[in-house]
Symmetry: C3
Subunit: 353 residues, 3 copies
Amino acid sequence: MRRADRGYRLAQLATEVAAELRGDPDQEIRGVATLEDAGSGDIAFLANRRYRTQLAATGASAVILQPADAAACPVDCLVTANPYLAYARIADLLFPTPVCGGGVHPSAVVAPGARIDATAWVGPLCVVEDGAEIGPGAHIGPGSLVGAGARIGAGTRLVARVVVWNASVVGSRCILHPGAVVGSDGFGNANDGGRWVKVPQLGRVVIGDDVEIGANTTVDRGSLRDTVIADGVRLDNLIQVGHNVIIGAHTAAAAFVGISGSTVIGSRCTLGGAAGFAGHLTIADDVHVTGMAMVTHSLHEPGSYSSGIPAIPSREWRRNVARFQHLDELTRRVRALEAGLGGAAGVEDAMGD
Amino acid sequence: MRRADRGYRLAQLATEVAAELRGDPDQEIRGVATLEDAGSGDIAFLANRRYRTQLAATGASAVILQPADAAACPVDCLVTANPYLAYARIADLLFPTPVCGGGVHPSAVVAPGARIDATAWVGPLCVVEDGAEIGPGAHIGPGSLVGAGARIGAGTRLVARVVVWNASVVGSRCILHPGAVVGSDGFGNANDGGRWVKVPQLGRVVIGDDVEIGANTTVDRGSLRDTVIADGVRLDNLIQVGHNVIIGAHTAAAAFVGISGSTVIGSRCTLGGAAGFAGHLTIADDVHVTGMAMVTHSLHEPGSYSSGIPAIPSREWRRNVARFQHLDELTRRVRALEAGLGGAAGVEDAMGD
Amino acid sequence: MRRADRGYRLAQLATEVAAELRGDPDQEIRGVATLEDAGSGDIAFLANRRYRTQLAATGASAVILQPADAAACPVDCLVTANPYLAYARIADLLFPTPVCGGGVHPSAVVAPGARIDATAWVGPLCVVEDGAEIGPGAHIGPGSLVGAGARIGAGTRLVARVVVWNASVVGSRCILHPGAVVGSDGFGNANDGGRWVKVPQLGRVVIGDDVEIGANTTVDRGSLRDTVIADGVRLDNLIQVGHNVIIGAHTAAAAFVGISGSTVIGSRCTLGGAAGFAGHLTIADDVHVTGMAMVTHSLHEPGSYSSGIPAIPSREWRRNVARFQHLDELTRRVRALEAGLGGAAGVEDAMGD
């Protein structure tokens, strides 16, 4: 439950999100909350079926919901096809991100050759190196490092302790969260008789507009070409993007996704948490991969893909795992049975029980 | 092998950890070491059966061990039901964490509105923002960032380069390791005709007392409610805790554990390395999940749960994987055999071999 | 495509990498590029069979390739058994890492007891604590922290915002990438009647020469002994190395590899992305583990090991997973069939379809 500095009339909110207002247009909304926690002055939303039972008893002053739920709503409501989207816009209206105004904190270390727009903010203990460019209205939060020749677009926000390195380019209106590293070297090693020799990483990272990159996520620079993250991509925390990877527009990846070098991910994909992608693959547009899936081949058709086996009680799991290790043999035994050889097939059950 | 600045008589150590002393009470102990490495003046411990064979030849001056092992001990010993626990306490006595004393390093950037207890230490190149509170005896190590309105409890230690952001609350006597990020935005995105719209993340992170958070681990703030980590929780390195997650008291999670948004983990659970939890689950108290398990459903009963298949030689693995991809078909073929249809069932072996 | 500050004659490059030159020794090379992107003045390389079709149409002035490909090369070439290695050396020659020269940036905070070689560079907003030693030609990039008693070897490069803590030792000519944490506490907890008691972590991290450690990777200090990373090891981004782990020389690990405490990895191993190792294992030299494999037992023989099942369309996957959970039962049914009991075995298909 959060209370805003200024309130909005319900009618204003309806207009802002193009929703149908049912109820008192002058109702004042000052806060957002869940259906369960909301009190007077709060607006709540119903977007997930599992919370529908909480509608009747809500203490909210208003609820954002779909047409099918409006009749059951005991209070004023904003009716829209996409309540979660309307909620996102209203929450942003009530609780806008604070703006720092232009300037450079005296503790920041800015190279003489860096170009910082007068309306950009460079916070305490930042480093901006030679040839870097910071665009209008950009916000470089405390402890962030912007490397030589890197470019930060208009209105982009490095929340705190972000590293943008090696001439990386970040577009406009992006958000990079604490600990994110953009432009680290890719993992390139040539083998010289058993010893590794580093392969210089000479490409950049090029990030489009309206991209969000999570805490402690790493995006490697390309080896020769660039690593590219297109407009509107969403990367959660602790993701690894290898060198030369290309991620198409509006693709979203959850935490721990790993994308190996030179793999190309399509647009509008969703990648579940901890899904892993081998290198040099091509993944089509509109592919959805469930959590912890292991993707070892290119996926040329849109659709949903999975692997991995859900956890069960360890005792049962141990039995099934033991059987799995003999699955090839089991299949041969079935074939022998089908051929009429039955127990005479001479293939033994290595489990021996 | 480590040598302490001051030694302890063995009798003192026995008293401190309430162990039975067998041997010379005046034996002076100045160091701790493994059974194998220990020399004169060192105390070692035997807690893991696999090291029992090293007892006879140890060079230690004393050994902490269980009653059953005492007879076989060639040197003085401290006898206790839990040798590892006694060792932990003795090691802490011999090698206490250095204390910095109160003060603020001149290179730190502290907002005028921050309240820092006179006995707390704020190290070099830290940032403490407006409205933040640092409690008595807290230690804010070099390069750490404490965001606006965040609270750090008494005796809590941010080792180095920790970020505590967005009005997060950290209890007393916690330890946060380098690179940890507490209070980063959760991963909330509404879809607007194929484009993602950020859902403002307005909740906090609330961490109890005696919690430890590992290096480069990330804990996201709640979306509306708070993300909560209860007393005594242990999080290893590189863990992801999503928004609105609740972790019960004294639960421990190993590296790479990922907990998706709004999942509730019980108390006294142990979560093996790289175990993954889908969102909106409920995990009971006293659940133990083995490493790399994929948890996609709520677990309502205490006990041990597993998934994943141990690595075997790649050649064998390839054969079994190929069979797994036809497991549904194989099951149907077995049913056909059971029904007496045998090879006449008309279900073909897609492997074709 | 990158252009160097100075060019090299093709004959010089051939000599540097001991390759056979076919073509004009005076050809000037100023850049490197892929076969597809290369233009006049660039040298490209052909090391991966999948790019062989691009050779005929390349715009490169010269190509590094194997003897078998030389006849098909439309331009000058450098012929060598290992084109990728030769490329690595030539790229390093054309694009050497810039050197900062010795000195300490005025914004760095260096303890009086730290010893910094006159030829080492300590960048802006670094912290070097008491008793730390920085060797000749070392480069401590912006925002890095070198803890008390830590040692950084000659020519080693902490790129930016690296933490080397707790008396860790880093050898010569290493590269540590942004966000890497070396010397964080291991995960040691003793249980005291349901509550965790921290086990002091007293060992160090000892890193050999020519080691590379990726962005946001964490390496924990030993509990009593040291955590050891031998010469020439390569660790990608977001890897976790637990306490007391030993990694043998010239082993390479891809992103998200997790190595639990006290496991010993041999030399010249390759560990695929997100492979996980349980604790207290021994892995032989020359073991190769494929991506996402779950290693729960020691591997005493060299060779390739795997687990995990590649992603398939979710609908098919759901069917196979359901069958897997009854694999033990299926095996028993096959045995019953083999024993001639067939459908009379009384074991039912729990799927019921």
